[in-house]
């Protein structure tokens, strides 16, 4: 029901998540931020029963995005077989000074994949084909935001749930930047 999306460009990663915190059928919050800053240049987006598990992952020293992703995946895998598995779907986006931008897709079964673009949630079914069609590895920042807006438009048109607004953030060599929220009113 919740939606996450990430698009990697040549020297940046653009991520967006919806702002709804739901409890069964009620929207409890309309401005819930699902992105967690793991470090200066790494963002973790998660949906599911994230709860308090994320706080364990903040170790205080600089991790590269790839290392952080693998560490998180290991954590998920360990807990998967325990009596208290996490049920979270994650996108980890980051910028490494040596490797450049990276987007990692992880799901509750502890699978990990580094992909140029990814989406989580039911909304992913509707928007993956749009991403397939228009994605190019050399997207500029503006083009990536336009592609993101296209996806949000499609969700508003075909998705049965109302996702009124999305937080958007961009990560590049200068760190994490907040971009303007995308909401149904303004395009």
């Amino acid at each position: 029901m919740e939606y996450l999306i990430g698009i990697q460009g040549q020297d940046f990663v653009l991520v967006a998540a919806d702002n709804v915190a739901a409890s069964s059928i009620i929207q409890m919050k309309h401005d819930y931020d699902k992105m967690f800053k793991l470090s200066e240049k790494i963002l973790l987006l998660c949906v599911g029963e994230a709860g308090d598990t994320l706080y364990k992952m903040r170790n205080g020293y600089e991790l590269s995005p790839s290392a952080a992703a693998n560490f998180t995946r290991k954590n998920l895998a360990d807990y998967l077989r325990s009596r208290t598995p996490y049920h979270v779907n994650l996108l980890l986006a980051g910028y490494d000074d040596t490797d450049g931008p990276g987007l990692f897709y992880m799901d509750y079964l502890a699978s990990l994949a580094k992909t140029p673009f990814a989406a989580h949630g039911y909304g992913a079914f509707l928007t993956l084909s749009i991403l397939d069609r228009y994605y190019r590895p050399d997207l500029t920042r503006d083009e990536a935001v336009d592609l993101l807006k296209k996806c949000v438009e499609e969700l508003n048109r075909r998705f049965i749930l109302n996702l009124p607004s999305f937080s958007v953030r961009l990560i590049d060599k200068d760190g994490v930047h907040d971009l303007e929220k995308i909401s149904v009113g303004n395009k």
Partner: protein, 331 residues
């Protein structure tokens, strides 16, 4: 399903004990349909108490040798040049590709094409039942049933099976003509004319934009009928496991004023993208174009080629962008 069968039908359901659906279909032969045509063309006909018959013949649970799934991508949309109906050609049974070249889009008559999704066997059967009923109607009433009428007829026929395992999701894509009466009497009455296709392309380019203005009932139509009772008329319909992916492309590129070429290309793109992401859709794409003159089928295209063409196109775009930036920095 020939006319003869109807005249001297004596088949007993016990001939096919395991195929309960066959038994039920046979029971449909037994009753007499009475069509009551009012001014609004309301169709009332008696459905036999087949629900009762069905439960008597049918063991409580039939075990199947494999899992039935509804993997497919079909779509249809209306634009200025008529109706486009497209579908992939993969028939899957669980994880197996049972048939890589099935026909999911089948013409019913010269101006109606049906795309199917759901269980292949059920869809084939129900398409034939629909064909038979429409032909009977035409013979009895000397005029062809409208698309909306056929959708209603199909929905009525499917209703007794609601709640059972029948899984049929058909999209009727067609063109209603205002002058069906006159045309029918003028043409020779044989089965070939009923199914006469608009293949003979003596139509010039201008003909495709003819739209009958006589009444709101004529013109292009797109109606979705499902075995759970849904009946929806719309300008864009996509059905199947690949439909969310197809909607993404269709919603983005669709407009009324597309040229024929653009519409074909959009339909192909949508099916291609859906087959790329959905495991249960794939292989080829079938495209039908329905206009006032009838339906025309485009050649079946293998989507594997399309994938490589798409990769090439993207690589070219990246190349061109690089060149542009180089030129800009140079000057």
């Amino acid at each position: 399903m020939a006319l003869e069968e109807i005249c001297n039908f004596v088949k007993t359901p016990s001939e096919f004990p395991s195929l309960s659906l066959e038994g039920t279909a046979s029971s449909l032969y037994l009753t007499d349909y009475t069509f009551q045509l009012t001014n609004n063309s309301l169709l009332n006909f008696e459905i036999p108490n087949s629900a009762l018959l069905f439960s008597e013949n049918h063991p409580s649970s039939v075990s199947r040798p494999f899992l039935l799934t509804h993997g497919t991508t079909t779509l249809g949309f209306i634009f200025q040049g008529g109706v486009i109906a497209a579908a992939d050609t993969r028939a899957s049974a669980g994880g197996l590709v049972a048939c890589p070249s099935s026909h999911k889009v089948i013409p019913i008559h010269s101006h109606l094409v049906v795309t199917s999704s759901g269980s292949s066997a059920d869809c084939t059967l129900w398409k034939r039942i629909l064909y038979r009923e429409m032909r009977l109607y035409e013979l009895r009433n000397k005029r062809r049933l409208s698309i909306r009428g056929s959708a209603k007829l199909l929905a009525f026929m499917l209703h007794p099976f609601k709640g059972t395992d029948v899984c049929v999701a058909l999209t009727l894509c067609g063109w209603d003509r205002a002058d069906d009466d006159r045309e029918y009497r003028e043409q020779p009455h044989d089965s070939s004319s009923f199914l006469a296709c608009g293949h003979s392309s003596s139509a010039t380019a201008s003909d495709t934009t003819i739209r009958c203005s006589a009444s709101p009932n004529c013109g292009p139509k797109l109606i979705f009928v499902c075995s759970d009772g849904t009946r929806l008329q719309n300008n864009v319909i996509s059905v199947g496991s690949g439909s969310p992916y197809a909607y993404g492309i269709l919603d983005d590129g669709l407009s009324w004023n597309l040229s024929n070429k653009e519409a074909f290309s959009l339909a192909r793109q949508a099916v291609f993208r859906a087959t790329h992401r959905d495991a249960y859709s794939g292989n080829n794409v079938d495209l039908f174009h329905i206009t006032a003159e009838g339906w025309k089928q485009r050649e079946r295209e293998n989507l594997r080629e399309e994938y490589y063409r798409d990769m090439e196109r993207k690589a070219k775009e990246v190349e061109e962008r690089k060149k542009e930036t180089l030129l800009k920095t140079a000057t």
